[in-house]
Protein backbone atom coordinates (compact mmCIF):
# COMPACT_ATOMS: atom_id res chain seq x y z
CA UNK A 1 0.00 0.00 0.00
CA UNK A 2 2.89 2.32 -0.63
CA UNK A 3 0.71 4.23 -3.10
CA UNK A 4 -1.33 5.48 -0.20
CA UNK A 5 1.52 6.74 1.94
CA UNK A 6 1.36 10.28 0.58
CA UNK A 7 -2.24 10.59 1.72
CA UNK A 8 -3.15 12.77 4.67
CA UNK A 9 -5.56 11.75 7.39
CA UNK A 10 -8.54 13.57 5.93
CA UNK A 11 -7.99 12.84 2.26
CA UNK A 12 -10.35 10.92 0.05
CA UNK A 13 -9.41 7.75 -1.76
CA UNK A 14 -10.30 7.27 -5.41
CA UNK A 15 -11.20 4.10 -7.25
CA UNK A 16 -7.89 4.50 -9.10
CA UNK A 17 -5.99 4.43 -5.77
CA UNK A 18 -7.81 1.27 -4.82
CA UNK A 19 -7.06 -0.51 -8.06
CA UNK A 20 -3.39 0.32 -7.53
CA UNK A 21 -3.57 -1.39 -4.18
CA UNK A 22 -5.78 -4.35 -4.88
CA UNK A 23 -5.73 -4.81 -8.65
CA UNK A 24 -8.85 -4.63 -10.76
CA UNK A 25 -11.52 -6.93 -9.45
CA UNK A 26 -12.90 -9.50 -11.83
CA UNK A 27 -16.63 -9.12 -12.21
CA UNK A 28 -18.45 -12.34 -12.76
CA UNK A 29 -22.00 -13.58 -12.88
CA UNK A 30 -24.86 -12.96 -15.26
CA UNK A 31 -27.06 -15.88 -14.24
CA UNK A 32 -30.77 -15.52 -13.93
CA UNK A 33 -32.28 -15.49 -10.48
CA UNK A 34 -34.96 -18.14 -10.40
CA UNK A 35 -36.71 -18.84 -7.14
CA UNK A 36 -39.88 -20.83 -7.35
CA UNK A 37 -42.66 -20.62 -4.85
CA UNK A 38 -43.17 -23.91 -3.19
CA UNK A 39 -46.07 -25.36 -1.28
CA UNK A 40 -45.28 -26.75 2.16
CA UNK A 41 -46.34 -30.17 3.32
CA UNK A 42 -49.37 -29.99 5.62
CA UNK A 43 -47.35 -31.42 8.48
CA UNK A 44 -44.35 -29.16 7.82
CA UNK A 45 -42.83 -27.75 10.98
CA UNK A 46 -43.40 -24.04 11.43
CA UNK A 47 -40.92 -21.43 12.64
CA UNK A 48 -42.40 -18.01 13.41
CA UNK A 49 -40.08 -15.00 13.52
CA UNK A 50 -41.14 -11.80 15.31
CA UNK A 51 -39.35 -8.82 13.79
CA UNK A 52 -38.07 -8.36 10.24
CA UNK A 53 -34.98 -6.30 11.02
CA UNK A 54 -31.38 -7.42 10.82
CA UNK A 55 -31.77 -10.40 13.18
CA UNK A 56 -35.13 -11.66 11.92
CA UNK A 57 -34.41 -11.29 8.22
CA UNK A 58 -30.96 -12.91 8.42
CA UNK A 59 -32.44 -15.72 10.50
CA UNK A 60 -35.17 -16.53 7.97
CA UNK A 61 -32.71 -16.57 5.04
CA UNK A 62 -30.18 -18.79 6.78
CA UNK A 63 -32.80 -21.12 8.26
CA UNK A 64 -33.83 -21.75 4.65
CA UNK A 65 -30.20 -22.70 3.93
CA UNK A 66 -30.20 -25.06 6.89
CA UNK A 67 -33.63 -26.57 6.23
CA UNK A 68 -35.25 -26.57 2.75
CA UNK A 69 -38.59 -27.90 4.00
CA UNK A 70 -39.51 -25.99 7.14
CA UNK A 71 -42.30 -23.41 6.93
CA UNK A 72 -41.07 -19.95 7.93
CA UNK A 73 -43.22 -16.91 8.75
CA UNK A 74 -41.94 -13.45 9.65
CA UNK A 75 -44.37 -11.14 11.46
CA UNK A 76 -43.20 -7.54 11.20
CA UNK A 77 -45.10 -4.43 12.21
CA UNK A 78 -43.85 -2.14 9.43
CA UNK A 79 -43.72 -2.80 5.65
CA UNK A 80 -40.32 -1.10 5.45
CA UNK A 81 -37.28 -1.18 7.69
CA UNK A 82 -34.72 1.61 8.05
CA UNK A 83 -31.34 0.38 9.24
CA UNK A 84 -29.98 2.13 12.29
CA UNK A 85 -26.53 1.28 10.96
CA UNK A 86 -25.15 4.17 8.89
CA UNK A 87 -27.99 6.44 10.01
CA UNK A 88 -25.35 8.79 11.49
CA UNK A 89 -24.46 9.41 7.84
CA UNK A 90 -27.92 10.86 7.25
CA UNK A 91 -27.34 13.55 9.90
CA UNK A 92 -24.48 15.00 7.84
CA UNK A 93 -25.87 14.18 4.38
CA UNK A 94 -23.61 11.26 3.44
CA UNK A 95 -26.61 8.96 3.01
CA UNK A 96 -30.35 9.52 2.63
CA UNK A 97 -32.91 7.63 4.69
CA UNK A 98 -34.22 6.15 1.44
CA UNK A 99 -30.83 4.54 0.84
CA UNK A 100 -31.09 2.87 4.25
CA UNK A 101 -34.67 1.62 3.72
CA UNK A 102 -35.27 -2.07 2.97
CA UNK A 103 -38.16 -4.49 2.72
CA UNK A 104 -38.65 -8.26 2.90
CA UNK A 105 -39.62 -8.83 -0.77
CA UNK A 106 -36.49 -10.83 -1.64
CA UNK A 107 -36.62 -12.79 1.61
CA UNK A 108 -40.20 -13.71 0.70
CA UNK A 109 -39.60 -14.65 -2.94
CA UNK A 110 -36.11 -16.13 -3.01
CA UNK A 111 -36.23 -17.97 0.32
CA UNK A 112 -39.90 -18.90 0.34
CA UNK A 113 -40.76 -17.12 3.57
CA UNK A 114 -44.26 -15.95 4.52
CA UNK A 115 -44.22 -12.28 5.43
CA UNK A 116 -47.07 -10.91 7.54
CA UNK A 117 -47.26 -7.17 8.21
CA UNK A 118 -49.03 -7.01 11.56
CA UNK A 119 -48.34 -6.20 15.20
CA UNK A 120 -47.86 -9.04 17.66
CA UNK A 121 -49.89 -8.45 20.83
CA UNK A 122 -49.31 -11.65 22.76
CA UNK A 123 -48.06 -15.20 22.89
CA UNK A 124 -49.08 -18.39 24.66
CA UNK A 125 -45.93 -20.38 25.27
CA UNK A 126 -47.87 -23.46 26.45
CA UNK A 127 -50.13 -23.65 23.41
CA UNK A 128 -47.28 -22.35 21.21
CA UNK A 129 -49.28 -19.60 19.51
CA UNK A 130 -48.87 -15.88 18.91
CA UNK A 131 -51.68 -13.37 18.44
CA UNK A 132 -51.68 -10.22 16.32
CA UNK A 133 -53.50 -6.89 16.40
CA UNK A 134 -55.50 -7.84 13.29
CA UNK A 135 -56.88 -10.82 15.21
CA UNK A 136 -54.84 -13.58 13.62
CA UNK A 137 -53.28 -16.45 15.50
CA UNK A 138 -50.18 -18.37 14.42
CA UNK A 139 -49.08 -21.76 15.76
CA UNK A 140 -45.36 -22.43 15.93
CA UNK A 141 -42.93 -25.21 16.63
CA UNK A 142 -40.19 -22.66 17.28
CA UNK A 143 -40.57 -18.94 17.98
CA UNK A 144 -37.73 -16.50 17.25
CA UNK A 145 -37.87 -12.97 18.65
CA UNK A 146 -35.64 -10.14 17.43
CA UNK A 147 -37.23 -6.98 18.85
CA UNK A 148 -34.37 -4.46 19.11
CA UNK A 149 -34.20 -1.96 21.95
CA UNK A 150 -36.34 0.25 24.16
CA UNK A 151 -35.31 3.51 25.88
CA UNK A 152 -35.21 4.25 29.62
CA UNK A 153 -36.43 7.84 29.56
CA UNK A 154 -37.15 7.54 33.29
CA UNK A 155 -33.39 7.81 33.95
CA UNK A 156 -33.55 11.51 32.96
CA UNK A 157 -35.75 13.96 34.79
CA UNK A 158 -37.65 16.10 32.31
CA UNK A 159 -37.02 13.90 29.25
CA UNK A 160 -39.58 11.59 27.64
CA UNK A 161 -40.63 9.94 24.38
CA UNK A 162 -42.76 12.93 23.42
CA UNK A 163 -39.84 15.37 23.70
CA UNK A 164 -37.70 12.88 21.76
CA UNK A 165 -40.27 12.89 18.96
CA UNK A 166 -40.20 16.69 18.97
CA UNK A 167 -37.40 19.11 19.74
CA UNK A 168 -35.01 16.69 21.48
CA UNK A 169 -34.52 13.70 19.17
CA UNK A 170 -32.36 10.84 20.40
CA UNK A 171 -32.14 9.68 16.76
CA UNK A 172 -31.04 6.25 17.92
CA UNK A 173 -33.65 4.43 15.87
CA UNK A 174 -33.40 5.64 12.30
CA UNK A 175 -36.35 7.66 10.99
CA UNK A 176 -37.92 11.11 11.45
CA UNK A 177 -35.73 11.83 14.50
CA UNK A 178 -32.63 11.36 12.37
CA UNK A 179 -33.87 14.01 9.95
CA UNK A 180 -34.82 16.35 12.81
CA UNK A 181 -31.33 16.12 14.28
CA UNK A 182 -29.89 16.91 10.84
CA UNK A 183 -32.19 19.93 10.57
CA UNK A 184 -31.03 21.18 13.98
CA UNK A 185 -27.34 20.70 13.17
CA UNK A 186 -27.70 22.68 9.95
CA UNK A 187 -29.69 25.41 11.73
CA UNK A 188 -27.14 25.92 14.54
CA UNK A 189 -25.96 29.54 14.92
CA UNK A 190 -22.33 30.28 14.15
CA UNK A 191 -20.29 29.67 17.28
CA UNK A 192 -23.12 27.72 18.91
CA UNK A 193 -22.91 24.71 21.20
CA UNK A 194 -24.21 21.18 20.68
CA UNK A 195 -24.43 18.43 23.27
CA UNK A 196 -24.36 14.69 22.67
CA UNK A 197 -25.00 12.58 25.77
CA UNK A 198 -24.15 8.89 25.22
CA UNK A 199 -25.88 6.21 27.33
CA UNK A 200 -24.57 3.97 30.09
CA UNK A 201 -23.53 0.41 29.12
CA UNK A 202 -24.89 -1.80 27.68
CA UNK A 203 -26.46 -0.16 24.65
CA UNK A 204 -26.97 -0.58 20.91
CA UNK A 205 -24.00 0.24 18.66
CA UNK A 206 -21.34 1.17 21.27
CA UNK A 207 -19.32 3.35 18.84
CA UNK A 208 -22.47 5.08 17.52
CA UNK A 209 -22.45 8.15 19.80
CA UNK A 210 -18.73 8.74 19.19
CA UNK A 211 -19.05 8.40 15.43
CA UNK A 212 -21.90 10.90 15.64
CA UNK A 213 -19.70 13.22 17.73
CA UNK A 214 -16.98 12.93 15.07
CA UNK A 215 -19.46 13.84 12.33
CA UNK A 216 -20.67 16.89 14.25
CA UNK A 217 -17.05 18.04 14.61
CA UNK A 218 -16.33 17.44 10.93
CA UNK A 219 -19.42 19.42 10.00
CA UNK A 220 -18.32 22.29 12.29
CA UNK A 221 -14.83 22.25 10.78
CA UNK A 222 -16.32 22.83 7.34
CA UNK A 223 -19.35 25.03 8.05
CA UNK A 224 -19.27 26.42 11.58
CA UNK A 225 -15.64 26.55 12.73
CA UNK A 226 -16.27 28.45 15.98
CA UNK A 227 -18.98 26.03 17.14
CA UNK A 228 -18.32 23.45 19.82
CA UNK A 229 -19.52 19.95 20.66
CA UNK A 230 -19.75 18.81 24.25
CA UNK A 231 -19.91 15.04 24.78
CA UNK A 232 -21.37 14.42 28.25
CA UNK A 233 -20.68 10.79 29.09
CA UNK A 234 -21.69 8.71 32.13
CA UNK A 235 -18.69 6.43 31.39
CA UNK A 236 -14.93 6.79 31.79
CA UNK A 237 -14.11 4.62 28.76
CA UNK A 238 -15.85 3.88 25.49
CA UNK A 239 -15.28 1.43 22.66
CA UNK A 240 -12.33 2.22 20.38
CA UNK A 241 -11.63 5.29 22.55
CA UNK A 242 -7.92 5.10 21.71
CA UNK A 243 -8.30 5.34 17.93
CA UNK A 244 -11.29 7.72 18.22
CA UNK A 245 -9.41 10.20 20.42
CA UNK A 246 -6.33 9.98 18.20
CA UNK A 247 -8.53 10.79 15.21
CA UNK A 248 -10.08 13.73 17.08
CA UNK A 249 -6.57 15.04 17.79
CA UNK A 250 -5.59 14.69 14.14
CA UNK A 251 -8.77 16.10 12.65
CA UNK A 252 -10.55 18.34 15.17
CA UNK A 253 -7.90 19.83 17.46
CA UNK A 254 -8.89 17.60 20.39
CA UNK A 255 -6.94 18.47 23.58
CA UNK A 256 -6.11 21.98 22.26
CA UNK A 257 -7.73 25.30 23.18
CA UNK A 258 -9.47 25.37 19.82
CA UNK A 259 -10.84 21.84 19.97
CA UNK A 260 -14.16 21.30 18.22
CA UNK A 261 -14.93 18.46 20.68
CA UNK A 262 -14.83 18.35 24.47
CA UNK A 263 -15.46 14.95 26.07
CA UNK A 264 -16.46 14.91 29.75
CA UNK A 265 -16.13 11.51 31.44
CA UNK A 266 -18.40 10.13 34.16
CA UNK A 267 -15.71 10.71 36.78
CA UNK A 268 -15.55 14.34 35.72
CA UNK A 269 -19.30 14.79 36.16
CA UNK A 270 -20.39 13.94 32.61
CA UNK A 271 -23.48 11.92 33.54
CA UNK A 272 -26.72 13.67 32.50
CA UNK A 273 -29.44 13.57 35.17
CA UNK A 274 -32.03 16.01 33.82
CA UNK A 275 -33.18 17.98 30.81
CA UNK A 276 -34.56 21.48 31.33
CA UNK A 277 -36.26 21.73 27.97
CA UNK A 278 -37.53 25.32 28.13
CA UNK A 279 -34.15 26.66 29.19
CA UNK A 280 -32.25 24.43 26.69
CA UNK A 281 -30.12 23.26 29.61
CA UNK A 282 -28.75 19.82 30.42
CA UNK A 283 -28.07 19.09 34.09
CA UNK A 284 -25.19 16.76 34.90
CA UNK A 285 -23.41 15.49 38.02
CA UNK A 286 -20.88 18.21 37.23
CA UNK A 287 -23.29 21.13 36.75
CA UNK A 288 -25.51 22.71 34.07
CA UNK A 289 -24.71 23.11 30.38
CA UNK A 290 -26.69 25.32 27.99
CA UNK A 291 -26.75 24.42 24.30
CA UNK A 292 -28.39 25.11 20.95
CA UNK A 293 -28.75 21.42 20.06
CA UNK A 294 -29.29 18.73 22.70
CA UNK A 295 -29.02 15.07 21.72
CA UNK A 296 -29.53 12.76 24.69
CA UNK A 297 -29.16 9.10 23.70
CA UNK A 298 -31.02 7.40 26.56
CA UNK A 299 -30.05 4.32 28.52
CA UNK A 300 -31.56 1.19 27.06
CA UNK A 301 -33.19 -2.19 27.68
CA UNK A 302 -34.60 -5.00 25.54
CA UNK A 303 -37.31 -4.11 23.02
CA UNK A 304 -40.89 -3.69 24.32
CA UNK A 305 -42.05 -6.96 22.75
CA UNK A 306 -39.41 -8.91 24.69
CA UNK A 307 -40.57 -7.27 27.92
CA UNK A 308 -44.26 -7.92 27.17
CA UNK A 309 -43.59 -11.58 26.34
CA UNK A 310 -41.71 -12.08 29.61
CA UNK A 311 -38.35 -12.81 27.99
CA UNK A 312 -36.36 -10.30 30.08
CA UNK A 313 -34.79 -10.75 33.51
CA UNK A 314 -34.07 -8.16 36.22
CA UNK A 315 -31.33 -6.61 34.07
CA UNK A 316 -33.92 -5.59 31.48
CA UNK A 317 -32.29 -7.83 28.84
CA UNK A 318 -32.98 -11.39 27.67
CA UNK A 319 -30.92 -14.29 29.05
CA UNK A 320 -30.12 -16.94 26.41
CA UNK A 321 -28.39 -20.29 26.07
CA UNK A 322 -25.02 -19.48 24.54
CA UNK A 323 -24.83 -22.30 21.99
CA UNK A 324 -28.27 -21.72 20.43
CA UNK A 325 -29.72 -18.29 21.43
CA UNK A 326 -32.67 -20.15 22.99
CA UNK A 327 -34.26 -18.17 25.81
CA UNK A 328 -33.14 -19.33 29.26
CA UNK A 329 -36.65 -18.52 30.50
CA UNK A 330 -38.86 -20.22 27.88
CA UNK A 331 -38.13 -23.37 25.86
CA UNK A 332 -38.63 -23.30 22.07
CA UNK A 333 -38.33 -19.48 22.12
CA UNK A 334 -35.14 -17.84 20.83
CA UNK A 335 -33.98 -14.23 21.23
CA UNK A 336 -31.64 -12.54 18.74
CA UNK A 337 -29.74 -9.30 18.50
CA UNK A 338 -29.68 -6.23 20.74
CA UNK A 339 -32.23 -7.65 23.21
CA UNK A 340 -30.13 -10.71 24.07
CA UNK A 341 -27.46 -11.02 26.75
CA UNK A 342 -24.54 -12.14 24.61
CA UNK A 343 -21.68 -11.44 27.05
CA UNK A 344 -18.63 -10.08 25.21
CA UNK A 345 -20.46 -9.47 21.94
CA UNK A 346 -21.45 -5.83 21.40
CA UNK A 347 -25.05 -4.96 20.52
CA UNK A 348 -24.45 -4.38 16.81
CA UNK A 349 -26.11 -5.23 13.52
CA UNK A 350 -23.17 -7.50 12.75
CA UNK A 351 -23.69 -9.35 16.04
CA UNK A 352 -27.41 -9.78 15.32
CA UNK A 353 -26.56 -11.19 11.88
CA UNK A 354 -23.99 -13.51 13.43
CA UNK A 355 -26.34 -14.70 16.17
CA UNK A 356 -29.12 -15.26 13.62
CA UNK A 357 -26.89 -17.70 11.73
CA UNK A 358 -25.94 -19.65 14.86
CA UNK A 359 -29.61 -19.73 15.86
CA UNK A 360 -30.72 -20.87 12.37
CA UNK A 361 -28.46 -23.91 12.60
CA UNK A 362 -29.52 -24.64 16.18
CA UNK A 363 -33.23 -24.41 15.29
CA UNK A 364 -32.75 -26.65 12.23
CA UNK A 365 -30.83 -29.18 14.35
CA UNK A 366 -33.44 -29.12 17.09
CA UNK A 367 -36.32 -29.64 14.61
CA UNK A 368 -34.49 -32.78 13.47
CA UNK A 369 -34.14 -33.91 17.08
CA UNK A 370 -30.40 -33.17 17.22
CA UNK A 371 -28.35 -31.17 19.70
CA UNK A 372 -26.89 -27.91 18.33
CA UNK A 373 -23.41 -28.04 16.79
CA UNK A 374 -20.44 -25.99 17.97
CA UNK A 375 -21.37 -22.28 17.93
CA UNK A 376 -19.07 -19.70 16.42
CA UNK A 377 -19.88 -15.99 16.40
CA UNK A 378 -18.20 -12.89 15.02
CA UNK A 379 -18.41 -9.13 15.05
CA UNK A 380 -16.74 -6.37 13.07
CA UNK A 381 -17.72 -2.76 13.74
CA UNK A 382 -16.39 -0.17 11.35
CA UNK A 383 -17.01 3.43 12.37
CA UNK A 384 -16.06 6.71 10.77
CA UNK A 385 -14.17 9.33 12.76
CA UNK A 386 -14.43 11.48 9.62
CA UNK A 387 -15.77 10.91 6.13
CA UNK A 388 -12.47 9.34 5.04
CA UNK A 389 -11.16 8.12 8.39
CA UNK A 390 -12.24 4.70 9.63
CA UNK A 391 -11.68 2.89 12.91
CA UNK A 392 -12.69 -0.69 13.63
CA UNK A 393 -13.02 -3.40 16.22
CA UNK A 394 -13.15 -7.08 15.33
CA UNK A 395 -13.43 -10.42 17.08
CA UNK A 396 -14.39 -14.06 16.57
CA UNK A 397 -16.27 -15.55 19.51
CA UNK A 398 -16.75 -19.01 20.99
CA UNK A 399 -18.65 -20.38 23.96
CA UNK A 400 -16.16 -20.99 26.78
CA UNK A 401 -16.93 -21.57 30.46
CA UNK A 402 -20.60 -20.92 29.72
CA UNK A 403 -20.02 -17.46 28.23
CA UNK A 404 -19.58 -16.01 24.74
CA UNK A 405 -15.93 -14.92 24.73
CA UNK A 406 -13.32 -13.84 22.17
CA UNK A 407 -11.71 -16.83 20.49
CA UNK A 408 -7.97 -17.18 20.17
CA UNK A 409 -6.30 -13.79 20.02
CA UNK A 410 -8.84 -12.36 17.63
CA UNK A 411 -10.19 -9.41 19.62
CA UNK A 412 -8.69 -6.07 18.72
CA UNK A 413 -9.20 -2.45 17.75
CA UNK A 414 -7.48 -0.56 14.93
CA UNK A 415 -3.78 -0.04 15.62
CA UNK A 416 -2.71 3.59 15.98
CA UNK A 417 0.18 4.17 13.58
CA UNK A 418 1.59 7.19 11.76
CA UNK A 419 0.52 5.73 8.41
CA UNK A 420 -2.53 7.41 6.86
CA UNK A 421 -3.30 4.28 4.83
CA UNK A 422 -4.80 2.43 7.82
CA UNK A 423 -7.69 4.82 8.57
CA UNK A 424 -8.21 5.67 4.88
CA UNK A 425 -8.61 2.02 3.96
CA UNK A 426 -10.80 1.36 6.99
CA UNK A 427 -13.11 4.11 5.72
CA UNK A 428 -13.19 2.40 2.32
CA UNK A 429 -13.92 -0.96 3.92
CA UNK A 430 -16.63 0.60 6.03
CA UNK A 431 -18.45 1.72 2.89
CA UNK A 432 -17.93 -1.64 1.18
CA UNK A 433 -19.10 -3.39 4.33
CA UNK A 434 -22.34 -1.41 4.55
CA UNK A 435 -23.31 -2.27 0.97
CA UNK A 436 -22.43 -5.92 1.45
CA UNK A 437 -23.95 -6.31 4.88
CA UNK A 438 -27.44 -5.22 3.88
CA UNK A 439 -27.28 -7.67 0.97
CA UNK A 440 -26.42 -10.52 3.34
CA UNK A 441 -29.38 -9.52 5.50
CA UNK A 442 -32.11 -8.62 3.00
CA UNK A 443 -31.23 -10.32 -0.32
Amino acid sequence: MSQLEHKTFDSKITRRDLIKVFGATAVAGTGIFGASSKAFAKDAQHVVVLGGGVGGSTFAKYLRFADPDVKITIIEQYPEYITCLRSNDVIVGMHTLDELTFNLDTIKSKYNVNVVIDKVIGADFDKKTVRTAKGESFSYDKLVVSPGIDFKFEDYEGYDAELAAGKFPHAYKAGPQTLELRRQLLAMPQGGTAIIAPPQNPFRCPPGPYERASFFAEYFKKHNPTAKLLVLDPKDRFTKDGPFKKAWERLYGYKTDNSLIDWVSGSDGGRVVALHAKEMVVETDGGDHKADVINIIPNQRAGKLAQELGLTNASGWCPIERNSMESSLHKEVYVLGDSSIADAMPKSGYSANSQAKVCARAVADSLKGQAPGVAIYSNVCYSLAGENYGVSIAAIYEVRDGLIQPKGKSAGVSPITDKAAQPILEAVYQKNWQREFVKDVFS
Partner: protein, 128 residues
Protein backbone atom coordinates in the same frame (compact mmCIF):
# COMPACT_ATOMS: atom_id res chain seq x y z
CA UNK B 1 4.31 -24.91 14.58
CA UNK B 2 4.35 -27.23 11.58
CA UNK B 3 2.75 -25.38 8.74
CA UNK B 4 4.52 -26.71 5.68
CA UNK B 5 2.15 -29.63 5.17
CA UNK B 6 -0.74 -27.28 4.70
CA UNK B 7 0.45 -26.26 1.31
CA UNK B 8 -0.17 -29.71 -0.14
CA UNK B 9 -3.95 -29.71 -0.54
CA UNK B 10 -4.43 -33.48 -0.77
CA UNK B 11 -2.49 -34.05 2.41
CA UNK B 12 -4.15 -31.19 4.20
CA UNK B 13 -7.54 -32.65 3.37
CA UNK B 14 -6.51 -35.96 4.86
CA UNK B 15 -5.43 -34.22 8.07
CA UNK B 16 -8.60 -32.26 8.55
CA UNK B 17 -10.77 -35.28 9.32
CA UNK B 18 -9.18 -36.29 12.64
CA UNK B 19 -9.14 -32.65 13.78
CA UNK B 20 -12.84 -32.20 13.03
CA UNK B 21 -13.73 -35.45 14.73
CA UNK B 22 -11.69 -34.78 17.85
CA UNK B 23 -14.26 -34.98 20.63
CA UNK B 24 -11.91 -33.27 23.08
CA UNK B 25 -11.71 -30.18 20.94
CA UNK B 26 -14.65 -30.05 18.53
CA UNK B 27 -14.77 -27.31 15.93
CA UNK B 28 -17.69 -25.63 14.22
CA UNK B 29 -18.54 -26.90 10.73
CA UNK B 30 -16.94 -25.28 7.70
CA UNK B 31 -20.30 -23.84 6.66
CA UNK B 32 -21.03 -22.45 10.15
CA UNK B 33 -17.69 -20.62 10.15
CA UNK B 34 -17.94 -19.52 6.52
CA UNK B 35 -21.35 -17.97 7.13
CA UNK B 36 -19.68 -15.61 9.62
CA UNK B 37 -17.56 -14.13 6.79
CA UNK B 38 -20.60 -13.08 4.74
CA UNK B 39 -21.19 -9.55 6.09
CA UNK B 40 -17.94 -8.46 4.42
CA UNK B 41 -17.29 -11.10 1.75
CA UNK B 42 -20.84 -11.75 0.59
CA UNK B 43 -23.34 -14.53 1.19
CA UNK B 44 -21.35 -17.75 0.69
CA UNK B 45 -18.35 -15.57 -0.24
CA UNK B 46 -20.06 -14.59 -3.49
CA UNK B 47 -19.35 -10.85 -3.62
CA UNK B 48 -17.21 -9.85 -6.57
CA UNK B 49 -17.92 -6.11 -6.73
CA UNK B 50 -16.31 -4.71 -3.57
CA UNK B 51 -12.81 -4.15 -2.22
CA UNK B 52 -12.89 -7.24 -0.03
CA UNK B 53 -11.70 -10.25 -2.03
CA UNK B 54 -14.35 -12.79 -3.07
CA UNK B 55 -13.94 -16.14 -1.30
CA UNK B 56 -16.30 -18.28 -3.43
CA UNK B 57 -14.33 -20.63 -5.62
CA UNK B 58 -10.99 -19.58 -4.19
CA UNK B 59 -8.58 -22.55 -4.36
CA UNK B 60 -8.31 -23.95 -0.84
CA UNK B 61 -4.54 -23.72 -0.84
CA UNK B 62 -4.70 -19.98 -1.55
CA UNK B 63 -7.23 -19.44 1.23
CA UNK B 64 -5.19 -21.44 3.74
CA UNK B 65 -1.93 -19.67 2.90
CA UNK B 66 -3.54 -16.24 3.13
CA UNK B 67 -5.28 -16.90 6.45
CA UNK B 68 -2.21 -18.36 8.08
CA UNK B 69 -0.07 -15.46 6.84
CA UNK B 70 -2.61 -12.98 8.27
CA UNK B 71 -2.68 -14.85 11.56
CA UNK B 72 1.10 -15.07 11.84
CA UNK B 73 1.52 -11.41 10.89
CA UNK B 74 3.55 -12.11 7.74
CA UNK B 75 0.99 -10.55 5.37
CA UNK B 76 0.07 -6.85 5.66
CA UNK B 77 -3.49 -6.38 6.83
CA UNK B 78 -5.98 -3.72 7.83
CA UNK B 79 -8.34 -5.98 9.74
CA UNK B 80 -7.82 -9.58 8.60
CA UNK B 81 -4.92 -10.14 11.04
CA UNK B 82 -7.31 -9.54 13.94
CA UNK B 83 -9.91 -11.88 12.41
CA UNK B 84 -7.48 -14.67 11.45
CA UNK B 85 -6.08 -14.88 14.98
CA UNK B 86 -9.42 -16.44 15.98
CA UNK B 87 -8.91 -19.60 13.93
CA UNK B 88 -6.86 -22.78 14.27
CA UNK B 89 -5.27 -24.58 11.30
CA UNK B 90 -8.09 -27.14 11.25
CA UNK B 91 -10.75 -24.43 11.23
CA UNK B 92 -9.05 -22.52 8.43
CA UNK B 93 -8.89 -25.71 6.37
CA UNK B 94 -12.56 -26.50 6.95
CA UNK B 95 -13.54 -23.03 5.71
CA UNK B 96 -11.16 -23.27 2.75
CA UNK B 97 -12.71 -26.48 1.43
CA UNK B 98 -16.21 -25.12 1.90
CA UNK B 99 -15.54 -21.83 0.08
CA UNK B 100 -13.78 -23.62 -2.77
CA UNK B 101 -17.07 -25.29 -3.70
CA UNK B 102 -19.18 -22.14 -3.95
CA UNK B 103 -20.19 -20.82 -7.39
CA UNK B 104 -17.98 -18.07 -8.84
CA UNK B 105 -20.77 -15.56 -9.41
CA UNK B 106 -22.63 -12.84 -7.56
CA UNK B 107 -24.94 -14.21 -4.88
CA UNK B 108 -27.90 -12.19 -6.19
CA UNK B 109 -27.57 -14.04 -9.52
CA UNK B 110 -27.43 -17.47 -7.89
CA UNK B 111 -30.57 -19.52 -7.26
CA UNK B 112 -31.05 -21.51 -4.07
CA UNK B 113 -30.99 -24.78 -6.02
CA UNK B 114 -27.75 -23.86 -7.72
CA UNK B 115 -26.22 -23.00 -4.37
CA UNK B 116 -27.38 -26.23 -2.74
CA UNK B 117 -26.07 -28.32 -5.64
CA UNK B 118 -22.68 -26.61 -5.43
CA UNK B 119 -22.44 -27.49 -1.75
CA UNK B 120 -23.11 -31.15 -2.45
CA UNK B 121 -20.36 -31.31 -5.07
CA UNK B 122 -16.67 -31.95 -4.49
CA UNK B 123 -14.26 -29.04 -4.46
CA UNK B 124 -13.92 -27.60 -7.91
CA UNK B 125 -11.34 -24.89 -7.42
CA UNK B 126 -13.54 -22.51 -9.38
CA UNK B 127 -10.84 -19.85 -9.70
CA UNK B 128 -8.22 -21.80 -11.61
Amino acid sequence: MKLSYLFTPALAFALIQPAAADAQNPIASGAAMAWQCAPCHGTNGQEFLEAMPPLAGMPAEQFIKAMIAYREGTRPAIIMDRVARGFTDAEIEAMAYWFEKQPVKQWENTSLTESQNAQKSNSTGGQQ
